[in-house]
Symmetry: C2
Subunit: 293 residues, 2 copies
């Protein structure tokens, strides 16, 4: 029987001794020179993403395709995204689809089925392992995603405290029962406790930005069973020390995402883009491991 | 020069004397019998949506395609959605794409471009007039959508107080500066005041559910320049009296959405689905008009 998502992810973390998630944000205007000289932007995007996947596979445990950049290549972009997801899985990487969906009842169910690839033309080999979701509309809008995730041994990462400068506008508001992000973390705990894998972590994780190290430490304690997906590393200004608190005493319980810092590393270094991405992912792996307890 | 979104919408409201928005939630399992007998679900979906559009065009001012149901038909579903949007516009309806996206910086920009159809293969005739967005991640995640909307004279509807039972989980939390939904409404006002059309309403509107009449009345006063998109009418339990407070003294300033109550009216009445949808939209128009001041 298929393992639960947290067990698959933590096993990969141990096997590769890596906590690196490589974000796939394919922006047409930033295609490497050898790929930008084409009229077929969608095909160039697939080649770029697949090249990055090959390059970083030894150093990263997962990739996080950003749905927005594939949707922006409509109408063929989503088909391209499924090819990239399948390619990542063939290369032993777990896939977290960054879709940040949220909606009610049957609509949420349709999004969940779409995100997990349960449409009639999708290959099961192309299904992502986990999906990001937005909690603003309330618990009943996350539950249909939980049902679908449970049915495919998949995971969810609920937005709790995001990495952007404006994340405090709503998430940091003080309420009768703590900050808004703490209220969301309590909801996450409730779901996570019911879905714990053999590794002790749950299929319901949380997105907590690297750019707010104090809240990251607080939320690590507050959601003991949730794997943290930590964006904001590298290009958004945070380093390994800022994310050290995301991990438990065994160095488990979190994956840290870098998108621009890996995918577009070639723009900082006068290097082949594949080599630059591989080097950036390898360096990030070592940097993260150096701050573990 | 192209009119601003609020002027286009309020002009249509006056011309048709209608405040009806017809939600397009095409669910494969609920296709009418004469369309369900096919192996090509995507084509049947387009025919169903286009048939509904023809039927309700005299009675509704806009349609609200729900992106989730088209995404669930991947990989051809999004191309189908653009065909449906174009068909609606050809039939004189405004289109509010219900996508509820939200993300940071260049990702938000990519979503905004995707939602407004600014990809290389889209026809300008197929661009939606407005898009729904999710504010959980903060003001800086809405601003890229504002930039793109402004560039195409389009509108945004920000989720403020949604119609589902769990909407209170976060939106109703009391903070130092009012409820969370009130804080969001203040953000909406700030954007709306900078984008007022000739009609006095702004291109930045708000989603406020019909299922919470008290908050609807409060938010109508609190966001005087924002057009309200009011879901939850009909199948979600609310009637015309519940939404009367959404309108200003001239009967303007809001459109009320019904999805199941129009699109699937044929399931309640032993009627041709086109006729049932037309009758449901016509009745809803009269019911809404009967409660105007």
């Amino acid at each position: 029987m298929k393992q639960q998502f947290p067990d698959r992810l933590m096993q990969a973390v141990k096997a590769k001794d890596s906590r690196v998630c490589a974000g796939l944000d394919p922006r047409p205007e930033l295609l490497p020179p050898d790929l930008s000289n084409t009229s077929d932007v969608v095909e160039a995007t697939v080649r770029f993403c697949c090249g990055i996947i090959e390059a970083i596979a030894p150093y990263a445990v997962c990739v996080k395709p950003q749905a927005a950049f594939f949707e922006a290549l409509a109408p063929d972009g989503l088909a391209a995204m499924w090819r990239v997801i399948e390619y990542a899985k063939q290369h032993g990487l777990l896939v977290i689809l960054d879709a940040k969906r949220g909606d009610i009842s049957s609509t949420a169910q349709a999004y969940a089925r779409a995100c997990f690839g349960l449409h009639n033309q999708a290959s099961p080999a192309a299904a992502p392992d986990a999906v990001t979701v937005n909690p603003y509309m309330g618990a009943d809008t996350i539950e249909p995603f939980l049902d679908v995730a449970d049915s495919v041994q998949g995971g969810l990462f609920v937005l709790v405290k995001t990495s952007n400068p404006g994340s405090g506008d709503l998430q940091d508001l003080k309420t009768d029962c703590g900050h808004v992000y703490e209220k969301v973390s309590d909801m996450v705990c409730g779901w996570a406790d019911q879905r714990t894998g053999e590794c002790g972590y749950s299929s319901v994780g949380a997105v907590v930005g690297a750019t707010y190290p104090e809240q990251l430490a607080e939320l690590r304690c507050r959601m003991p069973r949730s794997i943290l997906l930590v964006p904001g590393y590298g290009a958004q200004g945070s380093g390994a020390r800022d994310v050290a608190a995301a991990f438990d005493a065994d160095g488990l319980g979190a994956v840290v995402n870098s998108s621009r810092g890996i995918m577009y590393a070639y723009r900082q270094a006068d290097q082949n883009w594949r080599q630059a991405a591989a080097r950036a992912a390898g360096t990030m792996r070592e940097d993260l491991n150096s701050v573990l307890h």
